[in-house]
């Protein structure tokens, strides 16, 4: 093992510079979060909001930062923005109960229709809330691959071919099922096309992409829709209760931030 002194000077210099930049970046992020917390404690919510947004842009996405941002937005009576931040926090950490409770309260206060209570309609949400989805995906994947290799062995090597193949197929189905269920429950996948209504007055869902067309339903601020397609100023979307229609693109913001 070479000593640090043996490393060429150019590499050493660049490494040190990179470390300094990283440390400075981290310090800047940490500073932004501290500033935000201080401003929040002082009741200066606009400053706190800006500081959390700075921390998010410098540090990258974080469920905790989005949650704190949502709280500052709630304190400033910005239900649409708060709903968006809470949904982003839940997407990043589906097991963040505080964010789920806050979103539920917010939706109730805005008159957003409650989601169906039956577990068959909520199984994705329940699973995402209770189980660590990446661990489930990895487990499912590992089981499926073990089963796939056992299947090869069963087909080409095993003497009790039928039993071995059957056992491998069952194991493969279990692994693939586990993986699929975890993928379906992952809000990063299932909510990929979700968008939140931002204007404080909410928005209307129209039957056609024209201002004078018939109103399908009204969606309050903070309400969520699933975007099917965008067509310039208009977006064709669907509410959680299944109503489809057109609404102004500018009134919606995607839960997954656009680059």
């Amino acid at each position: 093992m070479k000593n640090f002194a043996d490393i060429p000077t150019v590499i050493r210099s660049w490494s040190l510079a990179a470390l300094l930049v990283l440390a400075g970046w981290e310090a800047a992020s940490a500073g932004a979060v501290q500033d935000a917390d201080k401003a929040f404690a002082a009741g200066d919510y606009p400053t706190a909001q800006r500081a959390y947004q700075t921390a998010l842009s410098s540090q990258g996405p974080s469920a905790g930062l989005y949650y704190n941002l949502a709280i500052t937005q709630l304190r400033q009576n910005q239900p649409g923005e708060a709903s968006l931040s809470l949904r982003r926090a839940i997407m990043l950490d589906p097991r963040m109960i505080d964010a789920r409770i806050a979103l539920s309260d917010l939706e109730r206060s805005q008159g957003v229709p409650p989601p169906p209570l039956h577990w068959t309609a909520r199984w994705k949400e329940i699973l995402a809330e209770k189980a660590p989805l990446p661990a489930l995906m990895i487990t499912g994947c590992v089981v499926a691959w073990i089963a796939a290799f056992l299947l090869l062995r069963a087909v080409f090597r095993s003497e009790r071919k039928f039993r071995a193949v059957l056992g491998s197929l069952v194991l493969l189905a279990v692994g693939a099922g586990l993986f699929s269920v975890a993928c379906l429950a992952d809000p990063r996948i299932s909510e990929r096309h979700a968008a939140v209504v931002l204007p404080s007055g909410g928005t209307t869902l129209l039957s056609a992409p024209a201002d004078q067309s018939a109103v399908v339903t009204k969606i309050p601020a903070g309400g969520c829709v699933y975007v099917h397609r965008r067509s310039g100023e208009w977006t064709y979307c669907e509410t959680p209760s299944g109503e489809k229609g057109w609404t102004a693109t500018k009134s919606l913001e995607s839960v997954v931030p656009t680059a």
């Binding site: 979060v33 917390d37 401003a39 929040f40 404690a41 002082a42 009741g43 200066d44 919510y45 606009p46 400053t47 921390a55 540090q59 990258g60 996405p61 974080s62 469920a63 905790g64 930062l65 949650y67 704190n68 949502a70 709280i71 709630l74 304190r75 400033q76 009576n77 239900p79 708060a82 982003r88 997407m91 990043l92 950490d93 505080d98 409770i101 806050a102 309260d105 917010l106 206060s109 805005q110 989805l133 990446p134 995906m137 994947c141 691959w145 796939a148 290799f149 090869l152 087909v155 080409f156 993928c183 992952d186 990063r188 996948i189 990929r192 997954v256 931030p257």
Partner: protein, 617 residues
């Protein structure tokens, strides 16, 4: 021996009678009916209570009546008095009377010896009519009413008419004019009308005037348009109907009508083994002592009962009504009375009474402003006096978390339909005084308005430290990219997929390589190599013949001549190849050396071997 086993319970009962303490002995004689027709059998029951060493009259003889001993049933009641166990045995000795001719008969006083004492019964009168089925003046049967649990005056219970249990709706009890059957069943229902979803207690009774034992733990009881709850443990008792003493077993349950209109309840069926006098003479001691008896299987059946089921009225139905039917009361308690920020307060709402607890939904909380509420947990405790489970109390436990400082709990509202007064009733609990501090760990959306309307941030005074408790401190980095799009995950899976595919192709290759046709093709290729080596004219004759032998051996898979003989080629080809092999052998063992081969000779041999190769395919 069989008779001994059969009589064993009776002997044990006799022994028990012998050791039990003496009580006041009683002897009573009763006729099941006092008016019968000629040829119609009637039972004479001689009941002996509290005695041992019973000795019956040897014979009861009345002219015009054929009286025979039919059997005996026994019951022992154990009681504890002043710490002492007392066993009282009562036995019923049954005689079967068949009137031979019409008239009024007096059965004389019977002398029964009990524990050394001689007791006498009252004389009985039996009127025998000339025509079978003539009316008789029996007693009207009076069955005990179904025990109805006390609903009691509870907080919030509106006054209601008690259920109509005094005149139960029943079927199958023999009317006074009918001769009593030795076994029969009946369904006792407290009402003739009911509402859809209402729980109605039902008692199934099976009467036995002769010794019997049931063959099933519970009766078969079902029907269309109603559901049946679980059966309670059966109870046994005695009752006199039309002057005849019956043992009856009662099964309690409850039914719930599921559709409106008339529905037929029953019949209920209970298989039983009934003891009847044997037609065969008995020649053993116990048979003579108790009379020869036979058990016969018999399904005791009730008559069905019709219940008129009404739909629930639509008028006056409260919005909170969720299907509860019955009579209920409601009360609430809260614990703890003092709660700090984020400390939950448990609000227990207890709904008690009688009704369809299974279909009961939680009471609705009202005036919940400033509280965070969660769906309640629920538990049901049946009343100890009710074995069926339609009396009891259901407790709903709500967890409340104060968002703001609160001094009273929300109120619980519960609506139900009372079939007795045929009205919907809504009960409310009173708010309970508590001291709950508002929690700050959970953001409240509504205060945002107040905050926005507050003085400018610059003028805001420093907030208490607890204000920042609403924030989280975990800023772990995360990504919006799904895990399945993670590069490492994709690379690992790709590598596994490539490995798997490679192994699959390898396996397939092996299978193909190891197949029979592949082996045959390889052998052909190997053999043809020898043929190819024979082609050049420069090949020495010795080697030429050796290649020829090797070719034949490779194609046949053996050096044996028999393989050639057994091969599928034509006889002339076989002869040609054999001659080549002969030349080769001759060349191998000859000392004179090998003659050179002409080009034509070589061609002829190669052609013969080629046709051999073709024919072998």
């Amino acid at each position: 021996m069989k008779a001994l086993i059969k009589s064993l319970p009776a002997l044990v009962a006799l022994l028990v009678c012998g050791v039990s303490s003496a009580r006041a002995q009683q002897v009573q004689a009763a006729l099941a009916q006092d008016h019968v027709a000629v040829g119609q059998p009637v039972q004479l029951n001689l009941s002996v209570t509290g005695g041992s060493g019973v000795r019956l009259p040897d014979r009861i003889s009345v002219e015009g009546l054929d009286i025979r001993f039919a059997g005996k049933s026994e019951q022992t009641q154990v009681t504890m008095t002043n710490g002492r166990l007392n066993a009282v045995t009562s036995a019923i000795y049954t005689y079967m009377i068949i009137p031979v001719k019409a008239g009024t008969y007096t059965i004389p006083s019977l002398s029964v010896q009990v524990g050394g004492k001689v007791l006498k019964t009252d004389p009985l009168t039996l009127t025998v009519g000339g025509v079978p089925g003539a009316p008789s003046s029996g007693n009207v049967p009076v069955l005990p009413a179904i025990p109805v649990p006390n609903t009691g005056a509870r907080t919030g219970v509106p006054s209601s008419t008690p259920p109509q249990v005094s005149s139960p709706h029943r079927a199958q009890v023999p009317p006074p004019s009918e001769p009593a059957e030795p076994v029969f069943g009946e369904i006792v229902i407290p009402r003739k009308t009911a509402y859809v979803g209402e729980v109605i207690p039902v008692e199934l009774r099976f009467y036995f005037a002769v010794p019997a034992r049931t063959l099933q733990e519970k009766p078969s009881f079902s029907g269309d348009g109603f559901t049946v709850m679980n059966f309670a443990e059966p109870t046994q008792s005695q009752q006199e109907i039309n002057g005849r003493m019956y043992q009856f077993v009662a099964f309690k349950t409850a039914i719930t009508p599921v559709k409106s209109g008339p529905i037929e309840i029953g019949p209920a069926k209970l298989p039983a083994a009934i003891q009847l006098p044997s037609s065969r003479p008995s020649d053993d001691f116990f048979g003579n002592l108790f009379g020869a008896l036979d058990y016969r299987e018999h399904v005791v059946e009730t008559r069905p009962v019709t219940l008129e089921v009404k739909p629930l009225p639509k008028d006056g139905r409260p919005a909170e009504f969720a299907g509860a039917i019955g009579q209920f009361s409601i009360e609430a308690t809260a614990n703890p009375k003092k709660a700090g920020p984020n400390d939950p307060v448990s609000l227990n709402v207890k709904v008690s009474g009688r009704g369809n607890f299974d279909a009961m939904s939680p009471p609705v909380l009202q005036e919940t402003e400033g509280w965070r509420t969660y769906p309640p947990g629920e538990s049901f405790t049946p009343s100890p006096s009710d074995p069926i489970g339609f009396n009891g109390e259901k407790t709903f436990e709500y967890m409340l978390l104060a968002r703001e400082d609160r001094s009273v709990t929300p109120i619980a509202e519960f609506s139900y339909f009372d079939p007795a007064i045929e009205r919907y009733v809504t009960l409310k609990t009173a708010p309970i005084a508590v001291e709950a501090r508002g929690g700050s760990a959970v953001p409240a959306p509504t205060p945002a308005v107040a905050v926005a309307a507050s003085p400018s941030p610059g003028a805001a005074s420093p907030q208490p430290a607890a204000e920042t408790d609403v924030l989280v401190r975990n800023y772990a980095p995360a990504t919006f990219r799904p895990f399945v799009e993670n590069t490492a995950f994709l690379v690992a899976n790709g590598a596994l997929a490539v490995t798997w595919a490679a192994l699959l192709f390898l396996g397939i290759g092996r299978v193909v390589f190891n197949s029979k046709s592949a082996r045959a093709a390889a052998a052909r290729r190997e053999a043809r190599a020898f043929l190819h080596k024979m082609e050049p004219s420069t090949c020495p004759a010795e080697q030429f013949y050796q290649h020829a032998v090797d070719f034949v051996a490779a194609r046949l898979g053996s050096h044996d001549r028999e393989a050639l003989a057994n091969s599928s080629v034509r006889p002339e080809t076989k002869a040609a190849v054999a001659s080549i092999l002969d030349v080769c052998d001759e060349m191998k063992y000859s000392t004179s050396g090998v003659a050179e081969l002409s080009r034509e000779e070589r061609r002829r041999i190669i052609d013969q071997l080629k046709s051999f190769d073709e024919e072998l395919r």
